[in-house]
């Protein structure tokens, strides 16, 4: 071991780094120090610039200005390849594994030290052995698409260890894990740090940061607003640094009593893309003016449940009722007409037409009727007038007439989408992770919109992985695990711990 690799010495240093995307600053004048053998937490709200900073470290983005030093010498990464060569690797929030290749092939992909020929057998043996030694067991012959999300994360970490990375960046690794899986990950992180590696742990969850890290750096609005040793930091101080003000939970008026059941789901069964039963007999009711939260780690049938309720996928069994109307097996248009509004998870993938103008997107569900259409003809002026009205009313910023909606920021996209949905005056609002990836201000705006619907007497179904979001909005919570409901908790009794156990399948219900 050389002197530079001694524990506690600087592994990586960033000096005054700037990075902007299309004129929007994601990182501004950020300086950052990472020591050997430490778990260093990067704390910050969504949109604070954590992911951008990590992507710069990992060579995916190039900084617009500033310096980066590895082991004390300046580096200029042109691609992740250069970062790997310097011993830095990253596990992204959205995994970067090739689904159709095997685990072993994914480990070998892009590895600089492999020969021309690939010995699949030897590779598999090495992969299995590596997994064992870090408490990350995997089947090296499995194709990545066959693995669970937690297993895929293990492959990502092994990919870095297989390349002998000295610096591992984990971008919100616990977001896709149950609290129990998270604990196992923390053990692996400590083991890696004890070996003299450095781990950057990105999170916006204070308790996790407090538990696992040695030091914390807090980012806010793209800037570094301070770094401390974790042991010296009070959670409340960290929270204030992160948010820039004292946290304010949205005020949720106590329900004045709920109305009759509006959304009724009976023994619903829905198939996945691969034809397996992803929703396996689900029952629940949502009453008018009630928010029912469905918690669960993603990939447990939430997507199929939503599709089955809004008509995007014909259920394989069971019933969906809106009030007294049975809408099972009818098409999407019928669901819309019966008063079902839907906020999908990926805004630009489904829900908005990215290349069409904001006006067009705001009329995407109402365009069939007057004033937007007269017979087969479109009334363009109605689109414009209504668009202007909603843009003002819902405070949608950055819109320019005629420009495609994809140019709006995430928060404004979501406001536009929800504005359109609630303007239909729905009886039922189904929303999936509506605040995912939004900054603090937009999160608040979106939550308030959802709560306003609740007050209006809409039956709201909130499907989310984010416990904060669920606890802030729901009147009642159920947990979904492997396509079934495994437990129900009223909002007052709900704790992250109890939910966590249920989400991991340790329920008291069926399953």
């Amino acid at each position: 071991m050389t002197e530079a690799s001694e524990r506690g010495s600087l592994a990586v240093e960033l000096r005054n780094v700037d990075k902007a995307f299309y004129g929007v600053k994601a990182n501004e004048d950020v300086s950052f120090e990472l020591r050997r053998g430490e778990v260093h937490a990067l704390l910050g709200e969504n949109g604070a610039g954590k992911s951008t900073l990590c992507s710069i470290l990992a060579g995916l983005y190039r900084p617009d200005a500033g310096e980066m030093l590895v082991d004390g010498s300046p580096v200029h990464f042109k691609s992740p390849k250069d970062a790997f060569a310097a011993g830095i690797g990253m596990v992204y929030q959205h995994f970067r594994l090739v689904p159709n290749l095997t685990v072993a092939e994914n480990l070998a992909l892009g590895h600089p030290d492999l020969g021309v020929r690939i010995d699949e057998k030897q590779l598999q043996a090495e992969a299995a052995e590596l997994g064992e030694s870090y408490g990350l067991p995997i089947d090296p012959k499995a194709r990545v698409w066959q693995l669970s999300v937690g297993e895929q994360q293990r492959v990502e970490i092994l990919k870095l260890l297989y390349r002998q990375a000295k610096v591992l960046i984990l971008d919100e690794p616990t977001a896709v894990l149950t609290p129990q899986e998270g604990q196992q990950l923390f053990k692996t992180m400590r083991q890696m740090a004890d070996e003299g590696r450095s781990v950057i742990f990105v999170s916006h969850k204070l308790h996790e940061v407090k538990q696992v890290s040695d030091r914390v750096t807090v980012l806010r609005g793209g800037r570094n607003v301070g770094g401390v040793a974790t042991a010296d930091a009070e959670p409340r101080d960290l929270a204030r640094m992160m948010v820039g003000r004292d946290l304010e939970l949205p005020t949720r008026d106590e329900a004045a009593g709920f109305g009759p059941p509006v959304l009724i789901v009976r023994d619903l069964r829905v198939l996945s893309d691969r034809g397996l039963e992803a929703v396996r007999g689900i029952n629940f009711e949502v009453r008018a003016g009630e928010v029912l939260g469905i918690a669960g780690v993603s990939g447990n049938g939430q997507r199929e449940l939503a599709y089955g309720m809004v008509g995007l996928r014909t259920p394989a069994g069971g019933q969906v009722l809106i009030g007294d109307d049975d809408v099972t097996s009818t098409d999407v248009l019928n669901h819309i007409r019966k008063g079902v509004a839907y906020v999908p998870q990926s805004r630009l993938g489904m829900g908005l037409a990215p290349g069409l103008a904001t006006d067009d997107n705001l009329a995407l569900k109402a365009f069939r009727d007057p004033p937007f259409s007269q017979g087969p003809r479109l009334v363009r002026s109605a689109f414009r007038d209504r668009g202007e009205e909603l843009i003002a009313q819902y405070d949608i910023r950055g819109v320019r007439p005629g420009l495609p909606i994809r140019l709006l920021s995430g928060g404004n996209l979501q406001k536009a989408l929800i504005a359109r949905e609630v303007e239909l005056k729905p009886k039922v609002l189904i929303a999936r992770s509506p605040t995912r990836g939004l900054d603090v201000g937009a999160t608040e705006a979106v939550r308030n919109l959802v709560l306003r619907e609740r007050e209006r007497g809409t039956a709201v179904l909130l499907i989310s992985e984010d416990l904060d979001e669920l606890l802030a909005l729901s009147d009642r919570l159920v947990v979904m695990y492997e396509g079934q409901i495994v437990g129900e908790i009223s909002a007052d009794d709900a704790t992250a711990e109890r939910l966590g156990l249920l989400m991991a399948g340790h329920g008291d219900g069926p399953g």
Binding site: A20, G351, L352, L356, L364
Partner: protein, 369 residues
């Protein structure tokens, strides 16, 4: 740091000037490439181009011939434009054009001279459109209901259509074949009542029909509910499904409309200037040229008209080049080059390049929320 690379940024909406300028530059760049090849093979590019312009536009006869050449190109251009806009890759306009020609000539021959032209002409023309749409349906139905990629099926159907036409004229004694000529097989001339009336030299009303159809297509896509649904499907099929739009039927409709336009091109061409199912006059690659027209017109149905005339001018001037000793294939080469530069130009319409030093403020409506 050494010279920093240019930063590529998507543009929100390109200015009208730019969307006009870039296609013009594409044509200009193609002319330069063609000029280089002409010069290398010993011709003076300026005199060759001069000759081409004179042929295409220098006389009223030349102008009318240019518009005659433009008529099918406007329609095959529309066929490509409406399809590509919706990411339906119908590259079978060639075959649909030939089927249109077969249907139209067949209908005209079947109806004979018995009925007046006012009745026969519309029937003949519409038959062509139906022929094209039917031929397109062979690819469209598997695409929509089975997910079979249409690129290869439409392409292969081009060659099947070509052989079908050859069979009707060269390989059989079908009603399309002229029984009067026994030396070399050729198409039976269609009766006069099935021919399109001419009004400017040899130019017939087909040109007007094509131009009107371009305007109709523009209205249909931009100003109707159906067109709005088509635009949503073209932009994001998942979002369209989400909004309750029947995606398969929209794709099918657009595909058949595309085939209809290509078929009408063939119908108008046999009922107009050609006057018979004549393989030598019909196997000209007019379907493929339509793709160039659509690309250079940036899939805008109205812009298809002037671009169609430009390509018609090139097609019209090609054969005359032989008189000055230049291979007429220079025209195909120029058209190919125009397409290359036109697609390349799309990059500059969609993106802007800037130096990394200074960030422009508030680019393209992006603001932090």
């Amino acid at each position: 740091m050494t010279a920093r690379r240019l930063i590529v940024e998507p543009r929100g909406l390109a200015s009208i000037q730019l969307t006009l300028l870039i296609p013009l530059l594409a044509v200009f760049a193609a002319l330069i490439v063609g000029g280089v090849f002409l010069a290398l093979t010993g011709d003076n590019p300026f005199s060759v181009y001069r000759h081409m312009v004179d042929t295409a536009f220098g006389s009223s006869r030349g102008l009318s011939e240019t518009l005659i050449s433009a008529t099918p190109l406007i329609l095959t251009g529309l066929a490509a434009a409406v399809a590509f806009k919706m990411l339906v890759w119908n590259i079978g306009a060639e075959g649909q054009f030939l089927l249109g020609a077969i249907f139209s000539s067949g209908m005209a021959i079947a109806m004979g001279d018995g009925a007046p032209a006012v009745v026969v002409v519309p029937v003949v023309v519409i038959a062509g459109g139906i022929g094209g749409a039917l031929w397109a349906s062979i690819s469209a139905i598997p695409r929509v209901y089975l997910g079979v990629n249409e690129i290869i099926t439409t392409l292969m159907l081009n060659f099947i259509a070509l052989n079908l036409m050859n069979y009707l004229i060269f390989g059989s004694s079908s009603p399309w074949r002229d029984p009067a000529v026994s030396t070399f097989p050729s198409g039976r001339p269609i009766p006069d009542s099935g021919r399109l009336p001419e009004f400017f030299n040899r130019l017939d009303i087909g040109f007007i029909i094509a131009a009107v159809l371009a305007l109709v297509a523009w209205f249909l896509i931009g100003k109707t509910r159906w067109g709005f649904e088509v635009q949503v499907v073209g932009d994001s099929p998942d979002t369209a499904r989400y909004a309750g739009i029947g995606v398969p039927r929209k794709i099918l409709g657009v595909f058949l409309l595309s085939g209809l336009f290509a078929g009408l091109a063939g119908g108008l061409y046999v009922a107009g200037p050609v006057g018979a199912l004549d393989p030598r006059s019909l196997d000209l690659g007019l379907g493929f040229t339509g793709i160039i027209v659509a690309a250079l017109a940036r899939l805008n149905p109205v812009a298809v008209i002037p671009v169609g005339i430009l390509m018609g001018a090139l097609n019209n001037s090609g054969p005359s080049l032989q008189s000055i000793g230049v291979p007429p294939e220079i025209v195909i080469m120029l058209q190919g080059a125009i397409l290359i530069f036109a697609v390349g130009g799309e990059f500059f319409i969609a993106n802007r390049l800037r130096r990394p030093e200074k960030a422009p403020a508030g680019v393209a409506g992006l603001e932090a929320a």
